[in-house]
Amino acid sequence: MNPAVHLDGITKRFPGVVANDDVDLAVERGSVHALLGENGAGKTTLMNVLYGLYQPTEGTVRLDGEPRSFDSPRDAIDAGVGMIHQHFMLVDPMTVWENVVLGNEPKTWGGLRVDGEAAREAVVELSERYGFDVDPDATIADISVGEQQRVEILKALYRGADVLIMDEPTAVLTPQEVDELYGVFDELTEQGKTIIFISHKLGEALSAADDITVLRDGVNVGTVAAADVTREELAEMMVGREVLMEPATSPQEAGDRVLEVTDLDVEDDRGVEAVSDLSFELRGGEILGVAGVDGNGQSQLVEAITGLREAASGDVRYRGESMVGKTRRDRIDRGMAFIPEDRQERGLVMSYDLVENGILGSQHDPPFANGGRLDWNASRDHAESVIEQYDVRPPDAEAEAESLSGGNQQKFIVGREFERDPELVVATHPTRGVDIGSTEFLHDRLLELRAEGKAILLVSSKLDEVQGLSDRLAVMHEGEFTGIVDPATVTEEEIGLLMAGESLDDDSVEGAAIHDAAGDGTDDAPGGGSDGADDASGNGIDGATGGGEGVDA
């Protein structure tokens, strides 16, 4: 029997880049196939070829053994190929059913009217068949990310997709939602659908897929059955060498209190409370990790600390000084470094060269500015020094930021922020989209700063990263810390529960509290955990204040 999808010798070249080099891929009908690889390995490009967004430079696409040539996604859709992109292709202000039928609207009145009733029925019918729970009249902007993903799947199914391509389907989901997604996979494959998903997470590929194909630098490294391969083997296929999975941290005495957050409330752009009544503290020489599914208030928390957003209430104290009413500028002046989550929107001015980007944030400070006048020579020296120390490639201070790859952009930002000699580093997703080599380098630098006694707030959706680097790990859910745990002892399942808003039993929380005790005193810890997140963090900070004095005395 022919495979449902057979990509035969696909090569895709862009000007100056070979994204896919003679890639073969065969996917059996009714199976789940993972396409694994690092960022930039060519996974998305390959799938875009299958989906008709790109035409291959060489090679053939076969469906059920038939050679096909897609000039556009329309052709691919007609042939039964559906794609669910990592960034959902949904129109936010429109309803679920409008999105599902977009481009294939059932019409009445000779085409003058969209038959909404028919469309809605079709949506209801489809969601019942696959066991989805989706309100067809809900507006996309109002529903959860998991639901949005299901709308995307419905969209593909509505178009008669037999083959579903999913790009990083779990990136934005909670562990529980991930489980639900795997359930959806089962439903779909049972009914004969074929699923290909793109991932860079080993664990996900191992647990969800029947077969795994690994891409590296645009080349197919091999296809293996998930049952026959270990994590380490896969990792080696991906990276091409053995990888140390977790950076080593050594225990370290915490220093002075650098950051105290008390009863902080922050609203998002729409005026909805994104961070509620949050309290914690951070000391020199300590890394506090914040884990959680994206969109649970991490961004707003970070913005409130770094001065990009005004808090609705509560206090942020930095080195003993209240930051209420202090601008972003004030905070930069006081030695806060900030690695923003979106480097291309915030961290760098894409059209500026690195000389100009090197002074972003320091443009009013010596040695770059003297009485309002900019000293471009000093800026150039600075940029060149960052480029050299942080191995930014190409090593050209006059290259425009947008001409750099994501990893090199990030290295430049990190370098610029670290070279400020900050007391506090707020790092959000510092290694997102960064290749493994650079990731290791950036992790090392974070640990060096920790060793120098700096305080570091590390926000990341990569669990292994926060777990591996942090001294304490806070899990955030809907604007609150559902728990602050010891990353050394907590399990991934426990973190998953916390990320989903559940609380944990006493044991693991106790572990975290003991770790806390290094600087905080222990008085409140045992009581803190069991009755919920609010109490845990609230008490923690109370304890911290008292405990801090205790240490001094």
Partner: protein, 348 residues
């Protein structure tokens, strides 16, 4: 939660926006207070004002003045909803105003070509001219990725030069002679109402309307389901040309003459049209309301002058502009489509 299939509430979309609601409430409130004051003190300024505001003369005047504003505003909705900000509506009005008069003068009023009377042909010519200019704008913005605001500005300036230029070439002066015939305002008013309802239907009930919205909000979503974003955007911009063409023709043909001196007879109505659809929050009915509001202010202003209040006339003429600024400051920004102003390029 909104049900798009519920019995057509025309203000759908407006109802969900608090700012449109506050506008409506504000307007009704002001009118009510005025009415009460006017009844209570008929001899005062309030009485005079109420007399003006609630007269049929003002109403018909409003209907006439609103036509080009609303029509161009509706056109602006289609362009901007599709993701192309068309700031050149003024230019489209100018060029169609000239072209319609020119066409009617060629055919000769009273004559007909293939049974189509001259004034109807004039409309068609106006629409054709405006649509052609809109097509140029569309190509420049969509194909050549021009900056939409600047290209729109250029459309205005080109029309502002071209219409008087051609008038001078054809008629020896920037103003054309009068045709001696005109289109009654009832026709324009009917066209405005039909265009408003038609636009509303097109935007909210047809597949094209959904595609238009998607092209402006998330073009990639549209592209990935196999609908060409470019085509939808072309359609949106061309529609803005068609509707502005109707508006410009109606304006000129209501006088039977094109006046090209200074700012031309269009007198900034295209810019007011932009404000109108922003006020109307991209809802055709809201745009009709906003257009009527501005035209109504103008109509009241004209009548207020005649009562002989010792306010300089030129200051009274400033009222509509100040109102726009004040309202804009109070209600802030409207919901501009997410991808408006951006170029979209299909991958590969």
């Amino acid at each position: 939660m909104r049900n798009p299939l519920s019995p057509a509430s025309l203000l759908e979309g407006a109802s969900e926006s608090s700012y449109v609601r506050s506008l409506v409430v504000g307007t009704v409130g002001v009118l009510a207070v005025l009415g009460v004051l006017g009844l209570a003190f008929p001899e005062s300024l309030a009485g005079d004002l109420a007399g003006i505001v609630f007269s049929t003369s003002t109403a018909t005047s409003t209907a006439r003045l609103a036509a080009p504003i609303v029509l161009a505003g509706l056109g602006g909705i289609f362009a901007e909803k599709s993701g192309v900000i068309n700031i050149g509506l003024e230019g489209l009005l100018i060029i169609s105003a000239f072209a319609s008069v020119y066409a009617a003068s060629i055919v000769g009023v009273g004559n007909a070509v293939l049974g189509v009377p001259a004034l109807a042909l004039a409309f068609l010519a106006g629409i054709a001219a405006s649509t052609f200019l809109a097509a140029v704008f569309a190509v420049v913005c969509i194909e050549f990725k021009a900056d939409q605001i600047i290209a729109g500005l250029a459309v205005w300036l080109i029309a502002l030069g071209l219409a008087p230029f051609m008038s001078t070439v054809f008629f020896g002066g920037v103003n054309t002679p009068n045709l001696g015939a005109r289109v009654g305002w009832q026709y324009s008013a009917t066209m405005v109402v039909l265009a408003t309802l038609g636009s509303w239907w097109l935007l909210n009930r047809t597949a094209f309307g959904k595609h238009l919205r998607a092209a402006g909000e998330n073009p990639k979503a549209l592209d990935t389901v196999g609908v060409s974003v470019s085509k939808v955007r072309y359609a949106g911009v061309l529609l803005s040309g068609v509707l502005s063409g109707v508006g410009g023709s109606a304006l000129a043909l209501s006088i039977g003459q094109f006046v090209g001196a200074g700012e031309t007879m269009v007198q900034g109505k295209g810019f007011i049209a932009i404000v109108a659809y922003l006020f109307g929050n991209y809802n055709p009915v809201g745009t009709l309301g906003a257009g009527a509001l501005f035209a109504g202010l103008d109509a009241v202003q004209i009548r207020l002058q005649q009562l002989g209040y010792a306010v300089p006339d030129t200051l009274v003429q400033t009222i509509p502009y100040v109102v726009v600024i004040v309202v804009l400051a109070l209600v802030g920004r409207t919901q501009i489509p997410e991808a408006a102003g951006e170029h979209y390029e299909t991958e590969e």
